[in-house]
Amino acid sequence: MIPVYFYGTCMLDLLSPYTGYHLVRLLEEAGCRVFFPAGQTCCGQPAYNSGYREEARQVALTQVKLFSEIFSENYPILLPSGSCAAMMGHHYLDLFPAEKRVDSLRPRIEEWSRFYFRCRPRLKDKGDRIRIVWHGSCHSLREMGVEEEPLSLLRQLSQVEVRELPHQRECCGFGGTFAVKYPEISAAMGESKCREINTVGGEVLVSSDIGCLTHIRTRMEKMGIRMPCYHLADFLAERIGLAHPDFRATDTRDTR
């Protein structure tokens, strides 16, 4: 049994908590004992990205204390988002340049899919044939170096065909606070991404980040494009029969 900590992230909690459940179940099936420390709030990235470092530091310190004073085992800390993982794993050095607690925290931070891939899970596809479009987040890709792992996991599923986009590695335009500070540029980038997703022939969108997913899905809704959208953990869990009974993939067809 590999013990790990799971850090949910504020966005996942607000928008897609079942993703957290699925991520945990997948890890458990792969032989992990997952601990969810109570008292998580936010990694601090929104304020940090906006230039308010002092406010970011105050919130970040709470997370640092959580993993150094209260839950202080030397377990890996897994996050469902590459950008939050990069914040805690890399940018915390900028916020806390001479803090021993942070030095011991940073190397343990990991984007969950890379860790999960290394657990060598055996994924048995129980679903019907399906064509999916994959969108890996920029922070996952470029800051956490996660590129092949999610694709390898998806390719284990025998009934799943992964379609690539012409600009596969291009940013979808979410960017956190960028999405509301420069909404028209963010939306234009999102629109380009949505058009490609729509033309490439996928039936379903799978992404590694809740932020990207929400941005793309809500833009698709405005554009009238119909497509169910899954986080990677949701999709894998559903395909191998681990999905929570109350879980429904957010579908652009369900416009209220």
Binding site: E55, G175, F178
Partner: protein, 484 residues
């Protein structure tokens, strides 16, 4: 800021321009990738090693810039050049005017030079009665149209071939200049050939200045650089001070990084190495060569160890080719002399954060620029530092002046809620109870509400992660509360 947003909206509505841009940038990126693969075929991973070399070399140069500039000056003078220092753009323009005055010059012909764009040299000279002609094909067309560059290396990519043709036709209505690329090029070649002969002064930029050799290096594909720097009697070269390198041994690596990243070439058509004016017995060359070394805010940038890396730039333009923001708003969308990611970090530092308040934030921090930068400039990290500098005084020009009280209040509140677990728990409970109301009110929430201008309202979850973790047996309370 709303004037800015209106401008951006207008830029984004130019769909044909964006489509044309997309095609050009895609082409550039494919070409770059192909040539990098070619470079790596000879020796796997070679380009990455070259990038490390570029980064280290440029960093080292910056660490003893003063000394290198003194050495450059000394050796340039030995080679017969005159060397001048200009603290800012105004001084540089005045220097050029002085030299022009000393030679009773009327006509200056220019090679492409971003530093002259930065200091608005053309405008300064034209106001004082000088005629200035751009000799780079793209720059020449833009000049005829009263337009400005939109890309570091290919200044006129925002214009199509038929735009070129129309602009030429307007300027020379009595001559048939043709519509095909070759016809346009031939027409411009004829026009410019006459101008090279007539020009009193040739003005150029500098790609690298070799300190140990007292030499100026200028790379190009059209040949106009060679003509500008050898036909007129006087050659004035302007360089920003970080362009200096130690010796010729550094040149091949740096040039390869530049040409591969800029145009997807292993080598450019011309590499000009200028070591002074015409010597006795030589047939070609100007009688005088002047080098103007410019600061224009760069010594201030040198002060900070991270921001200093903005000056590693070798002006290849690869960052803007890969930038998804650039692909949407195009070069003029930045409203700065240097566009793209490098423009976003340089211009606010050179001109001050007050002049370009929107540039540091205009990025999703995707990191595509850093990924292609031949000298590994940490552009996202620098952007983050500039965003912080806007709020809190640092060495950056006009830092600490952005006191947006609404946003500051927002983050203060956010921090008060999110840094104390029990406060956050209450807040989360409150949020949970008010989710339906929240969804309706969402478009009216300050800042967050802007989401719904172009996107539907996000759906907030009906359960919390805490509750799911509790039910599944993963929830861990602190030891003080009886931890399993």
């Amino acid at each position: 800021m709303s004037r800015f947003h209106t401008f951006i909206q207008e830029k984004l509505s130019q769909t044909t321009l964006r489509e044309n841009y997309r095609a050009i940038l895609d082409g550039n990126n494919i070409k770059r990738q192909q040539v990098i693969e070619e470079v790596n075929r000879e020796e796997g991973n070679y380009f990455s090693v070259l990038r490390d070399f570029g980064h280290q070399t440029r960093k080292e140069i910056l660490s003893h810039l003063c000394e290198l500039l003194e050495r450059l000056e000394k050796n340039c003078r030995i080679n017969g050049m005159e060397v001048h220092y200009a603290l800012d753009g105004k001084q540089a323009c005045v220097l050029v005017e002085e030299i022009a005055g000393n030679h009773q010059a009327r006509l200056l012909i220019k090679g492409k030079s971003m530093i002259t764009e930065e200091i608005h040299l053309n405008r300064y000279l034209e106001k004082r009665g000088y005629e200035v002609i751009e000799s780079d094909l793209g720059e020449y067309i833009l000049q005829l149209d009263g337009d400005t560059p939109s890309h570091l290396v290919a200044p006129a990519i925002h214009k199509t071939a038929s735009d070129f043709s129309a602009i030429l036709q307007r300027k020379f209505p009595h001559e048939y200049l043709g519509e095909k690329d070759e016809e346009i090029t031939a027409a411009v070649r004829n026009i410019l050939r006459r101008k090279y002969m007539e020009a009193d002064i040739g003005v150029s930029g500098v790609n690298f200045a070799v300190a140990s050799g007292g030499a100026l290096v200028l790379v190009e594909n059209e040949g106009n650089g060679r003509l500008v720097t050898s036909l007129p009697r006087v050659h004035i070269a302007l360089m920003s001070m970080e362009k200096v390198i130690e010796d010729f041994s550094q040149l091949p690596g740096l040039l390869k990084l530049l040409t591969v990243s800029a145009t997807g070439q292993l080598i450019t058509n011309y590499i000009n190495i200028i070591r002074g004016p015409r010597r006795s017995g030589e047939q070609d060359g100007p009688e005088e060569v002047h080098l103007i070394i410019l600061d224009n805010g760069r010594s201030r940038i040198l002060a900070d160890p991270i921001l200093r890396e903005s000056l590693l730039c070798i002006r290849c333009g690869a960052c803007m080719d890969s930038c998804p923001v650039y692909a949407q708003i195009t070069g003029h969308g930045y409203q700065s002399e240097i566009p793209g990611p490098i423009g976003k970090i340089l211009m606010p530092q050179l001109r001050g954060l007050k002049m370009h308040p929107e540039l540091p934030g205009m990025s999703s921090l995707c990191g595509a620029c850093e990924e292609v930068c031949p000298v590994r400039i940490p552009i996202p990290r620098i952007l983050l530092q500039l965003r912080a500098a806007a709020k809190k005084k640092t060495s950056v020009l006009d830092s600490g002046k952005e006191r947006n009280s609404k946003e500051f209040f927002l983050w203060k509140m956010w921090s008060l809620i999110y840094r104390r677990t029990w406060v956050h728990r209450l807040f989360r409970k409150l949020l949970h109870r008010t989710t339906p109301v929240l969804s309706i009110l969402f478009p009216y929430i300050p800042l967050l509400g802007r989401w719904s201008h172009h996107r539907s309202v996000p759906r907030f979850a009906k359960v919390t992660l805490d509750s799911l973790m509790k039910k599944n047996g993963n929830y861990l309370l602190s030891r003080k509360n009886g931890n399993p």
